[in-house]
């Protein structure tokens, strides 16, 4: 990995109430990558981001952005960081152009009309620059928040749940936009609770649950783990044992021999499902019903936690 743009070492947060929001966490983010923090609600994703951006005071550990410590050298560190929070927090009485100019100068950069025009054009907001934020649609308001976060030309952009509560079409738009941003050289860290989103966007994925960053892996490797599906056949007549002819598929019998289960990798070229079905048909095993089920995020977390404990 080249020199990391973001380096986190033992960072943790315990709230005054005693709640442990984030256990000591280590993480390094490389320049130009898209990193997805994947986890259910309340996993500690926002807490981690909030500490890096200065909204939450860390309880322990340290972190640096572009080599600047986020506490000791907070001014230099924060200049490198842009944040788009999850909640739609904007001043609805302000005009688009004013609020974006406000953000740029707030971060200590001189006014730069040409740069702001380019930014608003890139985000398809230029035509709306003189409108008040309350007149914009939800999708546009979110784009304004991105424009504000990028107005001071940060190296690192945090997107907290960028597509939560957004319809399918807008979600696609958002994904396209994030890819374009990466092409412009910005390093992007996003949080999400959709596996699909992590899969679509990220180069690497960190899985976080219960304040514990349990796994950081290249997306492709992770998706192989997460791509497991289970085929269930409800049999017409119960079987007492798995026929030896089906041994190579490693099927299991459940529900007192009434159900046959087969776990396969849905992303693999050969899933083994068609051949298994042919063999079952050849053996004359009759079934009443058939279903496949994707492992849920919950199942995957349970599985990952188990694997880690076992290791």
């Amino acid at each position: 990995m080249s020199e990391p743009v973001l380096s986190i070492s033992g960072l943790s947060k315990t709230y005054a109430s005693g709640t442990v929001a984030l256990k000591p966490t280590d993480l390094e983010i490389a320049r130009g990558e898209i990193f997805a923090l994947l986890g259910p609600n309340g996993a500690g994703k926002t807490t981690l981001i909030s500490m890096l951006c200065g909204l939450v005071t860390p309880s322990g550990g340290s972190a640096s952005a572009m080599g600047h410590d986020i506490i000791r050298d907070y001014r230099a560190a924060r200049r490198e960081i842009g944040l788009v929070p999850q909640e739609m927090s904007i001043d609805i009485f302000e005009r688009v152009i004013d609020t974006v100019n406000f953000s740029r100068t707030l971060f200590g950069k001189p006014k730069d009309p040409a740069r702001i025009e380019q930014l608003l054009r890139d985000l398809s907001l230029w035509d709306k620059r003189n409108e008040k934020l309350k007149e914009l649609s939800g999708g546009m308001k979110r784009r304004v928040m991105i424009a504000k976060a990028l107005s001071h030309d940060p190296e690192i952009l945090f997107l907290d749940e960028p597509t939560a509560g957004v319809d399918v079409e807008l979600r696609r738009d958002m994904w396209d936009m994030v890819r374009r941003l990466r092409e412009s050289g910005v390093t992007i860290i996003l949080t999400t609770h959709y596996i699909e989103e992590a899969e679509e966007m990220a180069d690497r994925v960190g899985v976080i649950t219960g304040g514990d960053l349990i796994l950081v892996e290249e997306k492709k490797a992770l998706m192989r783990k997460l791509g497991k599906k289970e085929l269930t056949l409800v049999l017409a007549e119960p079987l007492s044992a798995v026929p030896p002819e089906l041994a190579e598929w490693k099927v299991t019998l459940e529900d007192d021999g009434h159900e046959l289960h087969y776990v396969f990798d849905a992303t693999a070229e050969r899933t083994g499902v068609p051949s298994l079905m042919r063999k079952i048909s050849d053996l004359g095993i009759a079934f009443k019903d058939l279903s496949t089920k994707q492992s849920s995020l919950e199942d995957i977390f349970v599985q990952l936690v188990h694997e880690r404990r076992a290791a």
């Binding site: 939450v56 001043d91 009485f93 707030l106 504000k148």
Partner: protein
């Protein structure tokens, strides 16, 4: 110092005031006019109490009226200024910006104090329509005005951080500031009171603010200017210390 960042907050706040310029300036002008019609012309003509060297009772109440508005405006503008971003969530941007707590406070308090002083000076201008007001120490008047504005804008900032909702923003100005200003000799000389009220009154810090300010107009007042200045300075130090504590502990701003 991130002067651009400070200027950014200052301009944003001034822009917010400009949006409500009509109510922000016309209301105090009308209110002041009413005070002059009622106290200055209707009642004041027959007022025979101590007016400490002022040309008329109408002129005597000018510093008190200015102080009443200055205190209310300072607290209200500053508390609203910081409470609004906390309420809407836009505070995230301030907290994530490369700004020190001092810079943030200079931005918000500077803007609120500018607005409060503007209103006080508009009231002074309005008063000129009704009565003749002589100012013995104009420079000290402006300095004292600024000192009190900054002190009470800091106090307002604290209230804005402390308040859990908009109704709490109103509680302190309504229940504390208005009564203490009225009872602090805004409209009468404390010397005119009978004991024990006179002694009790001197425990009201607002007496020193109002009298100190009145001294800059007429050269005399119920307490010496030095004591007024010292007490105002003391309040300023207390407010600065409390704001410092808020940022050190992150109280209601950061988890």
């Amino acid at each position: 110092m991130n002067w651009r960042g400070i200027g950014s907050i200052y301009r944003f706040e001034m822009h917010r005031f400009a949006r409500t310029l009509w109510t922000g300036l016309v209301v105090p002008v009308i209110t002041t006019s009413l005070y002059f019609i009622v106290f200055g012309s209707a009642i004041g003509r027959n007022f025979s109490g101590d007016i400490q060297g002022a040309a008329s009772y109408g002129a005597f109440i000018v510093p008190g009226l200015m102080m009443l508005s200055l205190l209310m405006e300072s607290i209200f503008n500053a508390s609203f200024g910081i409470h609004m971003p906390r309420f809407t969530g836009t505070i995230y941007e301030i907290l994530s910006a490369p700004l020190s707590p001092t810079e943030t406070v200079i931005g918000y308090v500077g803007a609120a104090a500018t607005k409060a002083m503007t209103v006080a000076l508009v009231i002074l201008a309005t008063a000129h329509i009704f009565v003749e007001v002589q100012i013995a120490h104009p420079l000290l008047m402006l300095l004292f005005l600024a000192l009190i504005a900054i002190t009470f804008c800091l106090f307002g900032f604290i209230i804005g951080v402390w308040a859990k909702g908009f109704e709490q923003l109103q509680i302190i100005p309504m229940l504390v500031v208005t009564p203490l200003t009225f009872l602090g000799g805004a409209f009468y000389s404390v010397a005119a009171l009978d004991e024990p009220w006179r002694t009790i009154t001197f425990f009201n810090p607002f007496v020193y603010l109002i009298n100190g300010f009145r001294w800059t107009f007429f050269g005399t007042s119920d307490v010496s200017f030095g004591i007024s200045l010292a007490i105002t300075g003391g309040l300023l130090v207390v407010c600065i210390a409390l704001v410092g504590l808020i940022f050190r502990t992150g109280y209601r701003l950061k988890a």
